[in-house]
């Protein structure tokens, strides 16, 4: 694949495994095993079976008629919000738990921002009867309280990350420290296409089912596998990478990644990484990240906990640099308005993360026969209190 990872774990200038020696054996074991394991027919059969019977895949590709009328094109929603646990995160969590079991691991750790990845991980750990510890920023635990309760109900232990901005970045630091301290029997299920190689590639492969299905569904509905536009929101970038994956080599497909501008790109309260970031190293990979002149990581801000991350996955950094995908940004206000619009035009309350992708439609112009796919990465149940507060319901 033209845009895929090379043997050293790089996408162009980005990627690699910038990790302390303490993590080397774990990461090296994964690197040696992951391709072998996920291409094994037994693994594939179990993974596909669970995606079908437990997650409910394939997720529908829904022709959003009222949205299509409003925007003057054929708009399709890829309904990851209908997955078990309410977002695309479960695709990766299922893949990694099956891999962890095959590697003989007895304990699972994860980081979570919005809580969707934490819930997905707690779910698959319950499914397989494996101990689960989830690190979550203290601030995020408050703004995504329903997901904290869900994780606890599923039997996971949720540990607050109390350093730094107390959000996703800090939860990731804590999970990495746990992994350093527990090098033998623990597997770290990273929730996005970030981290040291092989994580960005592994997570992208597990999420690529999104675009794999979309192509087939589009063919059926439009007579062509290829849309003119594909949109997805980007924090670390896992739903976007899954949504882009099987379209990367088709240059005719415009890929649009929507970052969180927070209160505005230049407000000082933003998470628009490609606008505000520079090349550097974060959480084990060389990528684009928001940082000070001295290379200290900047605390990002977005109303959406899932997009509140100072970096993007290395493959995204590559696609951005070579301009294979377009990176844009949407503010808190624009996203919340789009969430309301989607609720009232289509009867779908989207996650605030997803609402960022929907909001960008306002800034596009279409031809009447354009086919446009938007990844509805998650549902908005977890965000109700934020919506209610904003709109004064």
């Amino acid at each position: 694949m033209k845009y895929g990872v090379n043997e050293q774990g790089y996408y162009g200038d980005f990627g690699g495994a910038y990790i302390p020696e303490m993590l080397y054996p774990n990461v090296e074991e994964l690197r040696q095993q992951y391709a072998k394991v996920i291409n094994d027919p037994d693994f594939k059969a179990e993974y596909d079976g669970l995606l079908r019977d437990y997650v409910g895949r394939p997720s529908p590709l829904y022709h959003a008629k009222r949205y299509s009328e409003k925007y003057g094109a054929n708009l399709f929603f890829k309904r990851e919000d209908l997955n078990h646990t309410g977002s695309h995160k479960i695709n990766n969590a299922i893949g990694q738990i099956l891999l962890a079991i095959r590697l003989g691991k007895k304990r699972i750790i994860a980081e979570t921002g919005a809580g969707q990845h934490g819930v997905a991980t707690a779910t698959v750990c319950a499914l397989k009867g494996i101990e689960c510890v989830v690190y979550m920023g203290e601030v995020d635990m408050e703004r995504q309280a329903p997901n904290v309760s869900r994780m606890k109900m599923l039997g996971a232990k949720v540990i607050p990350a109390t350093s730094g901005s107390k959000t996703l970045k800090d939860a990731t630091n804590e999970a990495m420290r746990d992994w350093i301290n527990n090098p033998v029997d623990t597997h770290y299920i990273i929730g996005s296409v970030v981290g040291p190689y092989p994580y960005p590639d592994m997570v992208a492969q597990f999420q690529s089912v999104i675009s794999f299905e979309t192509r087939k569904q589009l063919l059926q509905k439009t007579g062509s596998e290829l849309p003119q536009y594909v949109l997805a929101c980007v924090g670390g970038g896992s739903n976007a990478m899954g949504m882009f994956y099987h379209f990367l080599d088709d240059q005719a497909v415009n890929l649009i990644a929507v970052e969180a501008a927070g209160q505005g790109v230049n407000s000082g309260h933003s998470a628009a990484t490609t606008f505000l970031g520079r090349e550097g190293v974060l959480h084990g990979s060389r990528t684009i990240l928001m940082q000070t002149e001295d290379g200290q990581v900047v605390e990002p801000y977005s109303i959406s906990a899932g997009l509140d991350y100072p970096g993007i996955g290395p493959q995204h950094a590559h696609l951005y640099k070579i301009k294979r995908a377009q990176y844009v940004s949407i503010t808190d206000d624009e996203a919340l308005q789009a969430g309301l619009l989607c609720s009232q035009l289509e009867g779908i309350i989207p996650a605030i993360e997803t609402a960022h992708a929907l909001a960008y439609l306002e800034k596009m112009t279409f031809k009447a026969d354009d086919n446009v796919v938007i990844c509805i990465s998650g549902r908005g149940d977890k965000d109700l209190s934020t919506y209610i507060k904003y709109f004064n319901f």
């Binding site: 050293q8 690699g16 495994a17 910038y18 990790i19 302390p20 020696e21 303490m22 080397y24 054996p25 350093s163 730094g164 970045k169 630091n173 990495m176 420290r177 350093i180 301290n181 090098p183 033998v184 520079r278 550097g280 190293v281 974060l282 959480h283 084990g284 940082q291 002149e293 001295d294 290379g295 200290q296 990581v297």
Partner: protein, 256 residues
Amino acid sequence: MNRLNKLFESKKDNLLSIYFTAGYPELNTTVAIAEALEKAGVDFLEIGFPYSDPVADGPTIQHSSERALENGMNLNQLFEELKDLRERVSIPVLLMGYFNPMLQYGIERFCKKAVEAGVDGVIVPDLPMYEYETLYSRYFIDNGLSNIFLVTPQTSQERVRRIDSLSNSFIYLLSSSSITGKNLQLSNAIEDYYKRIKAMQLKNPAIIGFGISSNETFKKACEYARGAIVGSAFVKFLEQDNYLERIPEFIKSIKN
């Protein structure tokens, strides 16, 4: 031959190294602390430059890093403070920190500035061997700056050999796979690991770090290696008033 090599040649055992974070508890104390440590009988030093996301560190060094950053410590400030280092301190000095601040400063510029300041080596936990070899080693070698690698109980024998071949001063043996600031746990497995490393007869001496916080743990570590490094325990000690005057007391408690 740099100061590190000379030290390892002249002193065979019980080497004591101390780590502290530059800019903690306050700015403009780096060389004063270094000087006091040398006078108290420390053999070499590791001066940490702070990073916002120190994933290999426990709460103590996370805290000192955070405070140092709040105080305004960065690489420009550090090199400014180190200007009279070699007028006041003669023992070997290493810098220790994470890769991103170095990368933003410029690796070649960093190596030059460090050597100009009289620094002998660098420990960068998140700069892996592959990237070091393919992208950066020439800047270290051209400037005569040692790069020190970490080895853990899980590091394979083959990898230890490669690390030994890339090293030219010493190898940093971790007492366990852990973040900094935990207590040294001695088990049969850990003793086997030390013995295994010793039996490999590496060309570089080994120094043990992580979890060394007392006379007891220091002595234990020195049974298996040429010396040991105390970090978090000293950083904790710096929290108290009059820390400069009390440094000899602290060092005595370790060396006994």
